[in-house]
Symmetry: C2
């Protein structure tokens, strides 16, 4: 326990800074090319540069009639062609208009579109315009959204549905992305039993690996289920050695707890180990180190502690290793619907809901189970050393901001 | 266009109500059993009921010493056993204490734990307690988090990392879930070309199917890429008929636009069709109908319109068909960092970011491209008929709340 006994607690910001430094010291630089269909959740390894203008040609924003405004004297115009979306129009005959539909290319020579609702089709087939016309109205100009050469998505962008749609609109069929991060997930604790097995005396079901593996998949990582670490020095060393090809070893539970700290012993022998006492609740003990050069992060083993430390520390670390710059979740100032009378030494992340515009924490904030989190919509952040009265403002982080 | 010319615009709330009614008229009732590892994103078909207490037995919240408080006279106590997590302790010998570690079961007869930091180990091996002890301190009681028989997750819960972790902590190895929703995604528009192909005159790349298929996967749906609908009545009918085994046909672009409305013709002939003019921007035209009994939703084809209408209308419809009750995204009151001087007839969803705690919209809010959305962190909701000054409050919906 000695190296855990640092004076004072480490602020969350300090821990994040150190984790970012660790992440940036071991970036994932290998790339691969994937089709857009396989691009979901991947990280761009190079900027996406527009290779065409958007729109690629001037087009109509309405169903109506295209004309050259200078040709219009106020008299009805003859319709000289009909332009559907997807067709290639002829140049506009001077002194005429063209029937045109939304998204169809403007014919050469036309500069203005009037929507059909403001026109009248006369018996002789000519079109009368009933309202004053403005040069360029209802015309989408070539390149008004994006120009050839624009950086549309920067390197390090996480590709979700929107980004994939945008890449498709530029005609990209595939993307150069960083390879997936390989993360080994293991638990420590002789009391752990896998779901589906019978529970013996003193045993509990392991839940953290299920939580973390599912979460890692959402983050686009490859998760290696490394199981429960055996309670034996030789076997612990062998189990870690078998993980040599991963980018991170993520453990939960007990490096500093108890006296049978085989993981800690192995890390001290074959790498390095720092034990941080974080000013965070739930959470507090976090292990950072290396095993034979592979980064190791050890999260506390209580489920709610695992949840909070992964959300606020491990998740940004993982994304940063892949070169993602914006890794902080959005937070929103929301009034408290509860009283907080005892200022704490640690920053608390209460599992909470919004009700009638106010933050309400789950009644039982024990770090022992995930029930509070399953009920919650987000984390209510109570800063260290503060109290709150009803209506006081605090930061609320939606779970959706950290779960994906 | 005639059936589109309803008097006035349909409020978003009305459209949602109608979509929920449609969804509840065609619920997905078929179920399947999946392992927890395959449970990500699935919807519970039956409540998850606790089949054990959590914790399953009283245990220590600290590394320290367990005792029966009534046996303690203030004198040091002999250590009669040592209890690691995962072990099965003997009953506590009267007048002694037990060395105990975090998460280890409390021995029968013990009722109190003192953390090791507040104790001293004497030379004779006895433990002196330096602080006043409180009955029950540092003890987690059996069932204090969850009791056998508690409904831990209600039917209709979407299983994410937290819910899967919670199910694991209760020993569940598999779950009864609703079968996946099968959604056919198709585009209309002769101008559309698939990414990777060459762009001819008047053509643009199709982006909506990429957006929607990726999004549907995030929502746990099975997406059938039905391609681009051919510009021909017979072929349109045949293409739709080939989709008889899907739960929803989701189209984008142009049912009401132009004159070559083959999808509209087929729906009128072989089902039903309603064209809604929504009070939403971007968005406005939405098609709802059936083809031979299969529900059809037609979203507008401009990418930002597709995005907003899927996020706010189609997504809740899909989740509700699977029995999810909480389908509304979280929104937060945030001050405007921009001026809105012209009250609109439609509710606008600006693609926007938060900067210094204020909402800033992307400068170009054209519905033509997704660039604004890729830049954005959420939708800023400007209600119909309102104006905004800097600092006025408006609702902000994080994209993370609708993208998953």
């Amino acid at each position: 326990m000695s190296s855990c006994d640092q004076p004072g607690l480490m602020p969350v910001e300090t821990a994040l800074e150190r984790l970012f430094a660790m992440a940036e010291a071991a970036p994932i630089n290998e790339t691969e090319r994937v089709s857009l269909a396989d691009g979901e959740g991947r990280i761009l390894a190079q900027s996406l540069i527009a290779t065409l203008d958007l729109p690629p040609w001037a087009n109509s924003a309405m169903d109506g009639y295209a004309l050259r405004l200078a040709d219009w004297t106020g008299e009805p115009l003859v319709i000289s062609q009909r332009i559907q979306a997807g067709s290639a129009p002829l140049p506009l005959q001077p002194g005429t208009c063209a029937r045109i539909f939304t998204g169809a290319p403007l014919p050469l020579g036309a500069d203005t579109v009037e929507m059909q609702e403001n026109t009248t089709l006369a018996d002789d087939g000519r079109v009368a315009f009933s309202e004053p016309l403005k040069l360029g109205q209802n015309v989408r100009l070539q390149g008004q959204e994006t120009r050839i050469g624009d950086e549309v998505l920067p390197v390090g962008t996480r590709m979700g549905p929107i980004e994939l749609g945008l890449a498709a609109s530029l005609g990209c069929a595939d993307l150069l992305v960083r390879r997936r991060l390989r993360v080994a997930v293991l638990s420590t604790g002789d009391e752990l039993v896998e779901p589906g097995q019978a529970l013996g005396p003193g045993q509990i079901y392991n839940s953290n690996r299920r939580l973390l593996i599912s979460w890692l998949h959402r983050l686009g990582c490859e998760a290696v289920d490394a199981g429960i670490l055996p309670d034996d020095l030789q076997q612990t060393r062998a189990a870690l050695a078998a993980l040599a090809d991963v980018d991170l070893i993520l453990s939960t539970g007990g490096v500093s707890v108890g006296e049978a700290d085989f993981l800690g012993v192995v890390l001290r022998e074959e790498g390095e180990l720092a034990l941080w006492k974080l000013a965070i609740k739930p959470g507090k003990p976090l292990t950072c180190g290396h095993f034979r050069g592979v980064p190791v992060i050890g999260l506390p083993g209580n489920p709610a502690s695992t949840l909070v430390t992964f959300a606020l520390l491990a998740r940004p670390y993982l994304l940063r290793r892949l070169g993602v710059q914006r890794v902080a979740p959005l937070g929103f100032k929301v009034p408290a619907g509860f009283v907080w009378s005892k200022p704490g030494a640690r920053r608390e992340y209460l599992r909470a809901r919004l009700e009638n515009g106010q933050v309400l924490p789950y009644p039982n904030q024990s770090s022992g189970v995930l029930r509070s989190a399953a009920w919650a919509e987000g984390f209510a952040e109570v800063l260290e050393g503060t109290t709150l009265a009803i209506g006081d403002s605090l930061r609320f982080i939606p779970l959706s901001e950290v779960l994906g």
